[in-house]
Symmetry: C2
Subunit: 355 residues, 2 copies
């Protein structure tokens, strides 16, 4: 899934070039490229990877993943959250291989432990092959974060081959701080990573049960898929279908949901703070992406600027300094939640071209 | 005089596009354009204005002063301070009009009171026409600034028609703070504005007396001036002549130097602090040059960015934020004296292209 706009990282991430296409950590690869390689190297043949993205990003995807076939890029005409995206891909996959086992993943997350991740996904594949179930990768929470969804689990009624796989009791959307603290203490809750594993048959069955209108729209396209009529058909479907997440549309309602608790070194890189945590720091704890950045008497800053930009910074402590083409943002790290407001005001006062 | 490099204002001012060519105050005109108009509007016919500049700035001068004739732009092949610059122009002027009265002015200063300035220059013209003397415009000091030259004056031995004109007793180069405080208290000292008035005959006479080698070099060019041989001749002369200021080469030694104390609203705009003082400020005392600058919880900052750049700044107090093409500088206002060091380090580490 590579269709998001990533507005929290404005102006590094912009609607014409969002977060998943950016080398946010300054390691030489965009998050999409990292995600693609994570699967292509260890999980499945590259030709089995589908990228679902907004139509306007098709060329970006092709540029960043030069090995990918055109027909493996599924273009969404509108942003309708994860459920339509997954439905579209699932019906297309089912046409080719009704027995397929599928992993669904956001393309803008970080996973540090590749080996552990491979093991986690393969354990889920095994269970998804054996029975009709919907699996998600759960992350042991490290702080009472109110920005994530939480999954409460119970021991499976039958003994699991992989003891890390648990039965899901409840899904909870972003809780308040009180609740998040309780979840953390209880020990029965995991963060929802948004990475799913299931057989294509299981997810289609669940969609047809819990979101039948959307499922019907996508199922009825099966004669159009992989023909010149597909594009027009999908445009019509996206206009009609609801904006709905797979969590809300299916997972919260399903009675066959499982979670595998997996220490994969995960971060959704959803805030500058979480990004900072994963960036390399200099001796003054500055995290710098950029080739010509000279810091003096500066500490704890995040600097993200283009390669060719020379930056001289003096006397800044705990600031975010980001430049992206025609935009410069300087903001206290502790005030990063204000960035959304800045973006809205920029949009209102200066127009769409700056967002 | 428009040949300087203005390194104190890096990166706004860069060697390829220095301070005199920049609209530093954001009023729609560069300092050179303001200086040119100051003379052209009130002091002399525009065709009598010569611009002496470094050869590499010739096109910039032509672009900014589209009315100027090619032969009125005198190109220096090397930077040798003010004395060679003034000698070159003086010998050229003397060939055309040996009786000419001349005003010499830097092109990167600010003069707020145009009317008072006009009066001051014209009073000096009158004295320079009547007798063999060298005049400078003096500014009543407002603080014990250690960055300026000071002129000690005494009452003229004869009664001056303009009582603001005084006889110069001493010129003092940049003093230390103790000395500057003394100068300020004494009341007999003025800042040296670097604006001079004299007859071309007087300055040539003085140069031939006090810096005869340089004077001879330029005098000997009179057959080459205004011919195709001028350029080559001047290149040879500049290689041979010393790097020397007119203050040191002539004014400090001359016994016919006068100063006119003039309240012309002068600033050499030599530091960000002095620039800030003369810029328009918003309600939070931020001085902004740029069309798309949005400030939040920011106070007392100087922001100087290109028109097309969107800047969002949050939580900065008393900072300088300057962007110029491929360079961004963020620096505490109080640390602006460090900018010279930054420039030197940039030069050493990143090369000439960034300075």
């Amino acid at each position: 899934m590579a269709g998001g706009v990533g507005s929290r990282f404005w102006p590094m991430s912009r609607s014409v070039h969002p977060k998943q296409f950016i080398d946010v950590l300054g390691i030489g690869k965009s998050l999409l490229q990292q995600t693609y390689e994570r699967y292509a190297n260890h999980i499945c043949p590259p030709e089995n990877i589908l990228v679902v993205t907004h139509a306007s990003y098709k060329e970006l995807v092709k540029k960043q993943l030069p090995g990918i076939a055109d027909e493996n890029i599924l273009c969404e005409p509108l942003r309708k959250n994860t459920a339509p995206c997954i439905a579209y891909a699932s019906y297309k996959i089912a046409r080719k291989d009704p027995k397929a086992i599928v992993a669904v993943a956001p393309s803008d997350h970080l996973i540090l432990k590749e080996k552990t991740f491979e093991k986690a996904i393969k354990a889920c594949f095994e269970k998804a092959t054996a029975e009709n179930c919907l699996l998600t990768i759960g992350i042991r929470p490290m702080r009472p974060d109110t920005g994530y969804g939480y999954i409460q689990y119970v021991e499976s009624p039958v003994k699991e081959k992989d003891p890390r796989i648990k039965k899901v009791k409840t899904f909870t959307e972003k809780p308040d701080l009180e609740m998040a603290k309780f979840f953390l203490q209880s020990g029965d809750f995991l963060w929802n990573s948004g990475i799913f594993v299931w057989s294509v048959a299981s997810i289609i069955k669940a969609m047809e049960k819990y979101m039948p209108e959307e499922a019907t729209l996508f199922r009825n396209g099966k004669d159009a898929y992989d023909t010149p009529a597909e594009k027009q058909y999908i445009e019509k479907v996206y206009e009609q279908c609801k904006n709905i997440s797979i969590d809300y549309g299916v997972m919260e309602k399903a009675d066959n949901a499982y979670v595998r608790s997996s220490a994969i070194g995960w971060s959704d890189l959803g805030t500058w703070g979480s990004l900072y945590q994963h960036m390399e720091k200099d001796k003054d704890m500055n995290a710098v992406v950029g080739k010509n950045v000279m810091l003096y008497q500066s500490k704890g800053c995040i600097v993200h600027v283009p390669k060719n930009k020379l930056v001289v910074m003096e006397g800044l402590e705990d600031y975010i300094v980001v430049e992206s083409e025609d935009i410069l943002l300087i903001c206290k790290k502790q005030d990063e939640q204000q960035i959304r407001n800045f973006v809205n005001e920029v949009k209102a006062r200066k127009g769409e071209k700056f967002v």
